[in-house]
């Protein structure tokens, strides 16, 4: 529905700019692209369609029919099984803190590598890059052990520490190349004005780097939000679970209605969707920027 509206909107708006007639081929290609879009969106549509059905409606009419009436039973059932507000809070707390800490860490460590050009900075970057490629299973058992030993097991802090470092490894890599492109004269001018290293970082570099920093904040937030492997191991207690982990605990509960699973999935993806709508441009631009650095 939305797609058609867009097509019409765009058509009228751009009529003047396209004096040539669109060929049949071009319309066919558009149809292909729109069909692909519908195929990608379809699973989301199905979730929405079935989350609001009663389980009786679902079992008698199947997953593809329109709901006979709007029912919130599935949501009530899901909220009875999972402490959703707690999971939402945990996810928000973990993702926000990781985003802030990881960006600060990246900024600090990228500074000597990108601007200071310290000796063997290439080596340091290579080591950090390796960290971003490591499969999490090759860290998990010692991390599991370490979290228990430090009393951070089943608390949000274990996950916050782990992801702050892992995300910062990537952030350092990206920011140091952005910093490397900043003209040296700018830093030298600040030095002549008597600014120290610390001041140059915060008063000169941070304002220039703002666009890159905000992209990193957005990315670190959503990556941490979506993480699965490490949280599923370190956060087994309901009080510390994140939204994806809370949903995953329903796996294996055989007495559960499909509509409840749909309601749970829908509730779990709403925050992500809201975030996506708010930061769509940053996300899309960020992926592309990250690729060429």
């Amino acid at each position: 529905m939305i797609t058609t509206k867009f097509v019409n909107g765009v058509r009228t708006k751009h009529k003047g700019r396209h004096p040539k007639h669109r060929t049949v081929n071009e319309w066919l290609l558009l149809a292909v692209a729109v069909l692909c879009g519908i195929a990608v969106f379809a699973p989301f549509g199905l979730i929405i369609l079935n989350a609001f059905k009663s389980s009786k409606d679902y079992s008698s009419n199947g997953p593809l029919s329109w709901p006979t009436s709007i029912s919130f039973d599935a949501f009530v059932d899901y909220l009875g099984r999972v402490d959703f507000p707690q999971a939402l809070w945990n996810s928000l707390l973990i993702s926000t803190l990781v985003a802030v800490i990881a960006v600060t860490l990246s900024l600090m460590s990228a500074y000597p590598l990108g601007v200071g050009r310290v000796k063997s900075s290439g080596m340091v970057l290579a080591v950090l890059l390796v960290a971003t490629m490591l499969p999490h299973e090759s860290l998990i058992y010692p991390l599991f052990y370490g979290a228990q030993a430090t009393g951070t097991f089943n608390t949000v802090w274990s996950v916050i520490i782990v992801f702050s470092v892992l995300q910062a490894a990537y952030g350092t890599y990206l920011l140091s190349s952005v910093m490397g492109a900043i003209p040296k004269e700018l830093i030298e001018a600040a030095q002549l004005d008597g600014a120290g290293r610390w001041q140059i970082l915060w008063k000169v570099l941070v304002p220039i780097l703002k666009p890159s920093l905000s992209v990193l904040v957005v990315f670190f937030f959503i990556w941490t939000w979506n993480e699965f492997y490490i949280p599923v191991v370190l956060l087994s207690d309901q009080s510390s679970q994140t939204i994806p982990i809370a949903l995953a605990t329903l796996r294996g509960q055989h007495n559960i209605d499909i509509t409840v699973l749909n309601a749970g999935s829908l509730l779990s993806l709403v925050p992500t969707l809201v975030f996506f709508l708010l930061f769509q441009r940053t996300l899309v631009r960020g992926v592309a920027a990250g690729a060429v650095k």
Binding site: F6, I47, E137, I222, Y229, P244, T272
Partner: protein, 301 residues
């Protein structure tokens, strides 16, 4: 120039202080755990407070003869097809379609709307995506089989049939992955000077010829990054397997990271799990290093 610098700024050693936080973090979260993981791999150990028995390289030699491990590595090739090869090709074609035909002939707004739609699965928590798909692929109640049924066909047991399950997982992964190369390629294609296409068209080059001769060389750096990062991701696939199939049926969808997880947390063979994950890390490094080396060599040429 250096005459005016404050003395502290001239000393490059002072910069190292800024690296201290990441250094400590890296030690605590990456280096020591990774080293400990390697250490564990030389033991027979049930985990927790159980006694550790020195096992030398036995875990590794067991691994070499373990058909389930080789099976999991073979499944990694399927993951590479589903995460690297198919999405990169489709992403490239769709990116060209959106930038060239749709962006130019139907306006940029519909192009960016479609781009956002394709990208949507990328921001979904993998656990949520897994749940969505395990229901969509459900043999009795799922959306796909209901649709097939209404068309008079009997749908297969997508995730329960050992010959089919890995392809069903691949289907979901393709859906999940497509937006990533697409977004990168669209940004890359916007770098191409439209006059190049016009000149080529005047010389009689068709759309396809223009794509091969102009677009593809322009986006080579991005293509390399997409292939490299997606390959690393494909070798690390874990959550879709855990949620969609649990490695089954009959072990047909086990991937290395899931096999390691099972040894750690289900079979209580921590030493063996550590050996698997160590080998996986080395395989990933080797493949990434090989790709980077190959890329360097291409650049020099």
């Amino acid at each position: 120039m250096s005459k005016g610098l404050a003395p502290t700024l001239r000393r490059p050693s002072g910069y190292w202080l800024y690296l201290l936080p990441i250094f400590i973090g890296f030690l605590a979260v990456v280096a020591v755990p990774f080293g400990t993981n390697i250490y564990f791999s030389f033991f027979r150990w049930k985990g927790g407070a159980a006694p550790m028995h020195w096992n030398g390289l036995n875990n590794y030699s067991t691994l070499l003869a373990d058909t389930e491990f080789w099976n999991s590595l073979r499944n990694s090739i399927f993951m590479v097809i589903a995460i690297v090869i198919i999405p990169t090709v489709i992403g490239l074609l769709l990116a060209a379609l959106l930038t060239d035909t749709i962006g130019r002939r139907f306006g940029p707004r519909i192009a960016s709307f479609l781009r956002a739609t394709y990208y949507l699965p990328q921001i979904l928590p993998i656990a949520v995506a897994g749940f969505m798909w395990s229901w969509i692929l459900d043999p009795a109640n799922g959306a796909i089989n209901t649709l097939l049924h209404s068309l008079g066909m009997d749908g297969p047991d997508w995730l329960g049939n050992p010959d089919l399950a890995i392809y069903s997982v691949m289907l979901m992964l393709i859906w999940l992955q497509i937006g990533y190369p697409l977004v990168i390629f669209m940004a890359a294609l916007s770098r191409v000077d439209p006059e190049l296409y016009e000149a080529a068209a005047l010389d009689g080059a068709g759309k396809w010829r223009q794509f091969v001769a102009i677009s593809m060389p322009t986006i080579r750096p991005e293509t390399f990054i997409v292939v490299l990062t997606a390959t690393v991701a494909a070798l690390k696939v874990f959550a879709p397997i855990l949620i969609l199939t649990g490695g089954g049926p009959e072990g047909s969808t086990v991937v290395p990271s899931f096999y390691a997880y099972r040894n750690f947390f289900e079979l209580s063979q921590v030493g063996y799990g550590s050996a698997i994950s160590t080998v996986m890390a080395l395989v990933i490094f080797a493949i990434a290093a090989l790709m980077l080396w190959w890329q360097r060599r291409q650049e020099i040429r």
